[in-house]
C-alpha cells in the first residue's frame, strides 16, 4: 500500500480502538479528545514499540558492537529511513536530522543555516499566522545579525494576504511559513510560494508541525528547502522532532550543539565536526522516541494519508456548518468558514464566555479543548483577541465528538448568559 493512497478499509472506529487513551472516563463521561493540534494520541502500536524497545533492545547507539547496540542503532536509523520515505526526501535518510521537537528544528535552522547565510539587512519573510517557534528564533538571530524579520499580513478571511507579495519579497533570503495554521486551520499554498521564493533567489522553510499528520507530505513535489515537524503531533512520542533539508544544504551547515556524536575528532586545541545528519545530533539521541516514531509512520501509512484528509474534511465540514447554525451567531469560528484549503483546527470565540471558562465548562463534559493564544500572539493581536478555545480533530475523531462539543457549548452559553 503506497503512502498517501486511500484504502477503502479506513475506519475511524478502528483507530479509536487502537488508541488506549480514548477509553479514559472523566467526570463519568467517556473522553472527547479535541486537542490533536496540541498533541495527538499515540496508538497502542507506538506505545508498545517503545516499551518493547526498552524491554528488549535498549542500548546507546553508534559505536556499539554487541547485539542490542546494533539493534538499537538499526531502530534509530530505521526511523530516519521511515521518515525519509514518508515525506519523500529525494536523497533519503541522509537528509533527516532528529531534534527534540519542531522548535529545536527552527532554532537549528536559524542558528546554524541562518547564522551562516544571513547578514544585516537580509530579510526572513514569515507571516502573521506563525507559531512562536517560527518567530522567536528569527528575533534572536536579528539581535545577533541585524537581519530583518518581515511579516506577510493575514486577511480578514483568515488567509495570507498575497496582494503585495512581489514587493514583500524584496531582499528576502528565506521564506519561512507554516503549511497549516495551528489557530485558524488555514492551509497555505506552499508549492506556489516555493516557486515564488525560488524565482526571487530565496529558499523556503516549511513549518509542517500541523500539516504532517493531516495531509500527505511530499517535499520533492512541493520543491521546498526545509521541512520541520514534531513526532508528538503525528501519533508519535514526545521528545523528538524532525528537520529535513536537501543534502547539499545540510552539507554546508555549520554545527549547532556541540558534544559527543557530532564530531570527527577532538584535540585539546580544537575539533572537527562530523559529516551528515550526525553533525547536528550531539549527545545520546532520542532512541526510544525514534522507535515510537517509526511505528507511528507505519501506522499512518497503514491508515493512508489521503483517507485521513477525507475523514477530517468531512468532520470539519459538518462541525463548521453546525457551529454556524446552532448558536445564532453567538459562537464565532476564528478561521475560514468553508473546508477549502483548511484543516480540522477550529478556533472558537464564544460570546460572553472567556476561552478559559469555555474550556473549564467543557472539561466537565470530558471534552478536551485548548484555551489560550496557542503560541501565536501576533495572530491574536491581529484579530484583537486575547485567546480562543480551540477544538481540533485527529484520525480517531468522530461526528459524535462534535455532538458532545456542541452540547457542552450550549451549557457554557447558558451558564454565563
Amino acid at each position: 500500500m503506497a503512502p498517501g493512497e486511500p484504502v477503502s478499509s479506513f475506519d475511524p472506529r478502528r483507530v479509536r480502538a487502537d488508541t488506549p487513551l480514548l477509553r479514559r472516563v472523566i467526570n463519568e463521561r467517556p473522553i472527547t479528545y479535541l486537542d490533536s493540534a496540541a498533541s495527538s494520541l499515540p496508538p497502542r502500536a507506538v506505545i508498545e514499540a517503545m516499551s518493547r524497545y526498552y524491554e528488549m533492545r535498549h542500548a546507546n547507539v553508534h559505536r556499539g558492537v554487541y547485539q542490542t547496540a546494533n539493534e538499537a542503532t538499526a531502530i534509530y536509523e530505521g526511523a530516519r529511513e521511515a521518515i525519509a520515505r514518508f515525506i519523500n526526501a529525494p536523497a533519503g535518510a541522509n537528509e533527516i536530522v532528529f531534534t527534540k521537537n519542531a522548535t529545536e528544528g527552527f532554532n537549528l535552522l536559524a542558528k546554524s543555516w541562518g547564522h551562516k547565510n544571513l547578514k544585516a539587512g537580509d530579510v526572513v519573510l514569515v507571516s502573521e499566522m506563525e507559531h512562536h517557534a517560527n518567530i522567536v528564533p528569527w528575533f534572536q538571530l536579528r539581535e545577533v545579525n541585524g537581519i530583518e524579520v518581515r511579516f506577510i499580513p493575514v486577511n480578514d478571511d483568515f488567509r495570507l494576504d498575497l496582494t503585495d507579495i512581489e514587493s514583500l519579497m524584496e531582499g528576502v533570503k528565506l521564506v519561512s511559513l507554516t503549511a497549516m495554521s495551528n489557530v485558524l486551520g488555514t492551509i497555505n499554498p506552499i508549492k506556489d510560494l516555493a516557486a515564488l521564493a525560488h524565482r526571487h533567489g530565496a529558499l523556503i522553510a516549511v513549518d509542517a508541525a500541523q500539516s504532517v499528520a493531516h495531509s500527505p507530505s511530499d517535499v520533492t513535489d512541493l520543491d521546498v528547502d526545509f521541512f520541520i515537524f514534531s513526532a508528538h503531533k503525528m501519533l508519535g512520542p514526545t521528545g523528538l522532532g524532525v528537520v529535513w533539508t536537501r543534502e547539499a544544504i545540510l552539507d554546508q551547515m555549520p554545527p549547532f550543539l556541540g558534544g559527543g556524536g557530532m564530531i570527527a575528532d577532538v584535540r585539546v586545541d580544537g575539533y572537527t565536526p562530523a559529516n551528515g545528519p550526525s553533525r547536528f545530533e550531539a549527545g545520546t539521541p532520542p532512541i526510544a522516541e525514534a522507535a515510537g516514531l517509526g511505528a507511528a509512520v507505519l501506522y499512518l501509512e497503514g491508515l493512508g494519508m489521503a483517507n485521513i484528509v477525507e475523514h477530517e474534511r468531512n468532520l470539519t465540514s459538518d462541525a463548521l456548518s453546525r457551529l454556524a447554525s446552532e448558536f445564532d451567531g453567538r459562537v464565532r469560528v476564528i478561521g475560514p468558514s468553508d473546508t477549502h484549503s483548511r484543516g480540522g483546527v477550529i478556533s472558537l470565540d464564544v460570546e460572553g464566555v472567556h476561552p478559559h471558562d469555555v474550556a473549564q465548562v467543557l472539561d466537565q463534559f470530558a471534552v478536551c479543548v485548548r484555551p489560550g493564544h496557542h503560541c501565536a500572539k501576533p495572530l491574536m493581536r491581529r484579530f484583537n483577541l486575547a485567546a480562543t478555545a480551540r477544538a481540533s480533530f485527529g484520525p480517531y475523531s468522530l461526528t459524535r465528538d462534535t455532538d458532545v462539543l456542541i452540547e457542552a457549548l450550549h451549557h457554557a452559553l447558558t451558564m454565563f448568559g
Partner: protein, 153 residues
Amino acid sequence: MSSLEDLYREVILDHYRSPRNRGELPSPPARRVEGFNPLCGDEIVVYLEVRDDVLVDIKLTGHGCSISQSSSSLMSAAVKGKPVSQVREIIANFKQLMMGHEATLGSDEAPTTADLRAMGELAALQGVVKFPVRIKCATLAWNTLAQGLDESD
C-alpha cells in the same frame, strides 16, 4: 456537575457580569500597576490611590476569564477605603485561602469557618482551589495590588 458550580458560584458570575470599580484613575496622583498572566494572556491594570496610609480609591481595567475578572472585582470591593495595613491583611488572608488545597493536606492552616465568614463575599472564590490551574487567574489582581502597595513604600 457539582464541582463546576463550586467554581462558578453565583457571586462570581455576578461580579463577572457586573464588575465593580471598573475604570481608570488619573495617575498621578494614583499609582498604575500592570499584571500579566503569560500562560493565558490575561491582563489587568490596577489604579490605586493611597492617602494617609489609606487606600482611598481603586479602579481596574483589563481582560481575562470570569475567575480573574470576578476576583479583581471582589478584591476592589473588599479593599476600597481600608487602611493599607488592613489591605495587606486581606491580601494575606486571600492568599492563604488560595493555598487551601495544599494546606488541607496535612497542615493546621486550613481556613476555619470563622475565617471564611470574616472574608465575606471573597469566600466565594474558595472553590477555585479545587482547580489548581485557575488559582493563577484568581490571584493575578491580588499580586498586582500587592506589587502596587510595595512600590509605594
